[in-house]
């Protein structure tokens, strides 16, 4: 077990390294003098020179990479000349909305998708099954911003139940915070629900046909108990896997959803940084999101042993 954890941890190193090299090269691939690119259009020659010295741009590229990694590991992501702040500060400011949106979406999606998938599997071939599966295909196909605008139009403009756009920090009141999170979370949850429900259905169907389920039924266990203790537990590994992999969709969706709903989070920051060609910020955000994604999937892999005691490494 400990050996497995160590091996799994080691396996993330090449992945993170490749991502780091890519992110590092981003600035060099952008064309032009990196120092001038970072400083932006309105910089003086002296500022450019300072940045050049700070980044060690006169040294060989391998050495530059090592310096850069060292600074990142110390939490120094450089300075955004466009936003006139350090990138670390920028990220700290924008973290709460994105985190709130992501957690809300995740909870909502799992709470909806797993029961839907189970019901579809149990009632296989009925109209319930067909509705859930139809919704799943639809959820994959309708782009997230289309869903967002449809929901805004219906619930915020026509019915007036919820605010149209914006974000309120948790510290300024829970209800205002929650009220503004409902529509974006539902929007973002749609594609995630589609994905999880589909896998849940497939994996529950597989377990339903197994011998031990028949035995459990034969010994007179109630349907609910069979489902929870014998079916869902065995179907859990693929479901948890897809929840982890789906985080990539979630991150991509955050970028779009925050723009639709005017939420000042990391997703919006990414788009603004790209529009402004603010590379230190772009680099930091890409690196951050990718590392989070890799880490979540690492945790998912490590939970397999808890979910299924038969898995031994």
């Amino acid at each position: 077990m400990r050996g497995y954890i160590v091996r799994r941890l080691l396996a993330t190193i090449p992945v993170v390294t490749v991502v780091a090299i890519f992110v590092f090269l981003l600035l060099r691939l952008s064309g032009g003098d990196p120092a001038a690119v970072i400083a932006g259009d309105s910089a003086t020659t002296q500022q450019v020179q300072e940045i050049r010295l700070k980044l060690g741009l006169e040294r060989p590229i391998g050495e530059q990479f090592v310096i850069w990694v060292g600074r990142i590991l110390r939490g120094d992501f450089g300075e955004s000349y466009f936003f006139k702040k350090t990138v670390a500060e920028l990220i700290r400011d924008r973290l709460e909305p994105t985190l709130a949106l992501a957690v809300c979406t995740l909870l909502l999606a799992v709470a909806m998708a797993v029961p839907l998938g189970v019901v579809a599997a149990v009632r296989r071939g009925t109209w319930i099954d067909r509705t859930v599966m139809g919704f799943s295909v639809l959820g994959f196909s309708v782009p997230v911003f289309v869903i967002g605008y449809a929901l805004i139009y219906l619930f915020a403009i026509e019915l007036g139940w919820l605010p149209v756009q914006g974000y309120q920090r948790l510290a300024e009141g829970f209800w205002g915070f929650l009220e503004r999170l409902i529509l974006p979370s539902v929007t973002l949850a749609v594609i995630y629900v589609a994905l999880i429900a589909r896998i849940t259905r497939a994996s529950v169907l597989e377990v339903l046909g197994a011998d031990h389920v028949r035995t459990a039924r034969a010994k007179g266990l109630g349907a609910a108990s069979v489902l929870l203790r014998h079916v869902l537990r065995n179907a859990a590994v693929p479901i948890v896997t897809v929840i982890g992999l789906g985080v990539a969709l979630l991150i991509g969706g955050v970028v779009v959803t925050e723009s639709v709903f005017g939420i000042p989070g990391l997703g919006r920051l990414t788009v603004d940084a790209v529009l402004a060609r603010d590379y230190p910020t772009i680099q930091a955000v890409v690196l951050l999101f990718s590392v989070v994604y890799v880490m979540i999937n690492l945790v998912v892999d490590l939970t397999y042993t808890l979910l299924d005691p038969r898995i031994r490494y």
């Binding site: 196909s141 911003f145 605008y149 589909r198 890409v286 994604y293």
Partner: protein, 276 residues
């Protein structure tokens, strides 16, 4: 059914100039923000009257949404098809090589894993930032996140096929590597590859629309569904039609491609039916 919807949209895109459209980029300050169905009567210098009906209304620059949506189909089709073709071709070559050459495999797959660790939309947005916005940059930016998925698929097919007895037999009979790949491995990889291509096409259309919508994609004067929606964002509360019509077309197209993909998957390889 997916194929039918798709054929209709394809024809609409191709025949856009014949379907009563105007110049999709023509700005008309007098007829800004017209509601769908609005009619405008122009009296010419010679006293003759011509009437224009804006079936889907106009945007805040007075451009005809109907024309823009129809022309937008062209961009979506072009992006979807070219991304699918390019990423299949690149993925096929890299995947075959990785499946066959051990030394190449380890190196390439690490890069692919790294690329897959960056969420697709984020990677595409980042890549777009590297060059001036334009159709070519957008296509490349969408292709790169898709390639690793194709490579993995092709590689897995190669790895399973090379253990098959008939491939071993061919090798034993002295078949050389390249003809072997072409004659035995390629046909096996083709069915899942075609299915994958339709899904890549669907996701390319969505990502292009997202990039344009966020303002980092194809320049705003080009009519694309994402651009029309981006333009309509500011006045969405008052004039939702700017967003409504391109949304419908976009969603219908992607749905059609996905349904076609599911159909192909079931038709080409029954074994794949229960997998994702």
């Amino acid at each position: 059914m997916g194929g039918a919807i798709l054929a209709v949209i394809f024809v609409i895109g191709l025949a856009a100039p014949l379907l009563g459209t105007r110049d999709p980029a023509q700005i008309d300050p007098i007829s800004r923000n017209k509601r769908p169905g609005a009619v405008r009567i122009l009296t010419g210098a010679d006293g003759r009257q011509t009437s224009t009906t804006y079936w889907m209304g106009t945007d805040s620059l007075g451009r005809d949404i109907y024309s823009r949506v129809l022309y937008g189909a062209r961009v979506s089709m072009l992006v979807g098809i070219s991304v699918a073709l390019i990423s299949m071709a690149a993925g096929l070559v890299i995947g075959l090589l990785a499946g066959y050459l051990r030394w190449f495999d380890g190196f390439v797959m690490r890069i692919m894993d790294g690329l897959m660790a960056v969420p697709a939309i984020l990677l595409a947005i980042t890549l777009v930032s590297l060059s001036a916005a334009g159709l070519r940059a957008v296509i490349i930016a969408i292709v790169i996140p898709e390639v690793p998925r194709v490579v993995r698929l092709v590689r897995s097919v190669v790895l399973s096929i090379r253990e098959e007895p008939y491939v071993e037999a061919a090798t034993a009979l002295g078949a050389r590597t390249v003809p072997l790949i072409v004659r035995h491995v390629l046909p096996n990889a083709l069915a899942p590859l075609i299915v994958q291509a339709t899904y890549v096409c669907a996701s390319a259309i969505v990502i292009e629309a997202i990039l344009s919508f966020l303002g980092v994609g194809i320049p705003p004067q080009t009519p694309t569904w994402g651009n029309i929606m981006a333009e309509g964002r500011a006045l969405f509360r008052v004039f939702p039609h700017n967003i409504l019509f391109p949304s419908i077309f976009l969603a219908a197209t992607v749905l059609a491609v996905n349904i076609m993909g599911d159909g192909l998957r079931d038709g080409l390889d029954p074994r794949l039916r229960n997998r994702l």
